[in-house]
């Protein structure tokens, strides 16, 4: 069971409300897409759920346990993993070292065989001992996302995984995420602007607009919703 509840989140930067009473409920494992125009508050929402930013108001809970205001490392220990919009890997560490780092950080037993298996799934096995800085952007993105799955998350936050990734790698990425999700289901929230990518991935899409949830539903219904179309065009 993983039940993520977000209740009345508010966050202001100066006079601008990045989040303005954002609430939603994720009853259990599944891939959920988060879309919305720029400035809708998607990344702020992820930063708050991952503990990188503190909300002005509102609550987050996982299986009834209140998580609001916890630090990122504590949330990581409770099973919340994330990727970053700007893509972050340890450039000096090799791909394998990057993947094994979460077990070092958490003090658990490293599993190099598993790391190599996942690296092979995304076609990066030839770069296993190369420093991550030598990879292309798309490859770094794959590495980053493989790393989040190795944390065995209960809640996984992927912030624009498809941004800047070329079509060939994008297909690998989508297949990988679906396959990993099937093996070990988690509450997987994905921010994405690439509609084709997210529609193929998510079972449900949540549309954000001006700091709140505007609409939520299955991908087909969302694409034809007049309110969503207006938010994007208006």
């Amino acid at each position: 069971m993983s039940h993520l509840a977000v209740q009345g989140l508010e966050k202001r930067y100066g006079g601008i409300a990045a989040l303005d009473g954002c609430s939603f409920d994720i009853p259990g494992p599944g891939i959920y897409g988060f879309i919305g125009p720029n400035g809708a508050g998607k990344t702020t929402l992820f930063d708050i759920v991952a503990g990188a930013t503190a909300p002005d108001r509102g609550e987050i809970s996982l299986d009834g346990r209140r998580l609001t205001g916890f630090s990122p490392h504590r949330l990581a220990r409770l099973g919340i993993a994330r990727s970053f919009q700007e893509c972050r890997v340890f450039g000096e560490y090799s791909c394998i070292e990057n993947l094994l780092f979460s077990s070092i950080a958490l003090g658990t037993r490293p599993d190099p065989a598993e790391a190599e298996r996942l690296l092979k799934l995304v076609g990066l096995e030839a770069y296993a001992t190369e420093p991550a800085a030598s990879l292309s952007f798309g490859q770094r993105r794959l590495l980053e996302i493989v790393g989040t799955f190795l944390q065995r998350p209960r809640v996984l936050l992927l912030d624009e995984p498809a941004a800047g990734v070329n079509p060939a790698l994008l297909e690998i990425l989508a297949t990988f995420i679906l396959r990993m999700h099937e093996d070990r289901p988690s509450v997987c929230l994905v921010i994405e602007h690439n509609m084709e990518f997210i529609m193929g991935l998510a079972r449900e899409v949540i549309v954000m607009h001006q700091g709140t949830v505007l609409e939520r539903g299955d991908p087909q219904a969302i694409q034809t919703s007049p309110r969503v179309i207006e938010a994007y065009l208006g």
């Binding site: 990188a52 990122p72 990581a76 970053f84 972050r88 890997v89 340890f90 780092f101 979460s102 950080a105």
Partner: protein, 305 residues
């Protein structure tokens, strides 16, 4: 195995230097060791974790004055005073480090600089305890290490202890975490690293090593003077680490050898000595931006091919 053997051989050679060397050279080598010890501590902070402290040597001063007070005023035995002084530096490092680490990058540097100046001014002005600017005289050397030849072995032992601590830390999980923090702190935290705790711990450890160096230095000089722990000395420590090779095991040792040894070799240049020394430092930063350790490693690899 071969590397361990080479290291043993090197240590044996260093240990036997007093048999063949003139007192002057030995004196310089003692100073090299005593500069290397705090530099090793700073290397863990600056080189491995990316924390540039501009007040590092002030923590050597805390160790030095604690030891002086315990040995001279409280008549405590040498080794227990040394242990307590190192612990005092470590605790001071943890407390002051926790404050400094609330700041980042250049703000962190400024706050460490400020604490360094504050600690220096305490050493310089708290006459009742530190004897002020005149210095704290009468600091003993431990029994059996009085003469220069034997003190050299103590200083060498101290440097080896510092080096061993550094080696153990760097190859541990804690060391991996430190290097990760240097590369990307936000990512390390998202992976579950308590960054504030780890950085405070390395600040404390680095300060404790500085304290060890401070105690041995004033014990060698037989007097603790504030000038040994001023801002210039803290900057020197940063230079030693960077020129030697920040983030490499041998870096601080090589840096200390160069920093203490080179000005002595340049005595032939008389009043031009510091000018030449400065020019050489510039050349090193130009042509070996990753330090002498890296330069040697690259040369070694080229030879091997």
């Amino acid at each position: 195995m071969r590397r361990a053997g080479l290291l043993m051989l090197l240590v044996a050679a260093l240990y036997s230097i007093p048999l063949v060397s003139a007192p002057y050279v030995l004196h310089i080598l003692v100073l090299c060791c005593l500069y290397a010890i705090p530099a090793v501590g700073l290397n863990l902070m600056l080189g491995y974790t990316g924390l540039v402290s501009l007040g590092h040597i002030a923590f050597a001063g805390i160790g030095a004055y604690t030891a002086a007070y315990l040995m001279v005023d409280l008549k405590l035995g040498y080794w227990s005073a040394l242990a307590l002084a190192v612990a005092a530096s470590g605790v001071a490092g943890a407390v002051i480090g926790a404050i400094c680490l609330r700041f980042r990058s250049h703000f962190f540097m400024i706050v460490t600089l400020a604490f360094g100046l504050m600690l220096y001014s305490v050493m310089n002005n708290w006459d009742e305890v530190t004897r002020g600017a005149a210095g704290f005289p009468g600091i003993p050397r431990p029994a059996g290490f009085g003469p220069l030849e034997s003190f050299y072995r103590l200083a060498l032992g101290g440097a080896l202890v510092a080096f061993a601590v550094q080696w153990l830390v760097v190859r541990s999980s804690f060391g991996r975490i430190l290097v990760a923090l240097r590369q990307d702190e936000r990512l390390a935290e998202a992976k579950g690293v308590n960054a504030a705790l780890c950085k405070t711990a390395v600040f404390a450890l680095g300060s404790a090593l500085a304290g060890l160096g401070g105690v041995l230095l004033v014990s060698f000089l037989r007097v603790a003077a504030p000038a040994s722990f001023n801002l210039a000395e803290s900057i020197n420590a940063v230079l030693i680490v960077i020129i030697g090779g920040a983030g490499s095991l041998a870096g601080p040792i090589l840096g200390a050898l160069l920093f203490v040894g080179l000005p002595e070799l340049l005595r032939v240049a008389a009043e031009w000595r510091l000018v030449v020394f400065g020019a050489i430092l510039v050349l090193i930063t130009l042509f070996a931006p990753n330090g002498i350790a890296d330069l040697i490693a690259r040369g070694w690899n080229r030879l091997g091919r």
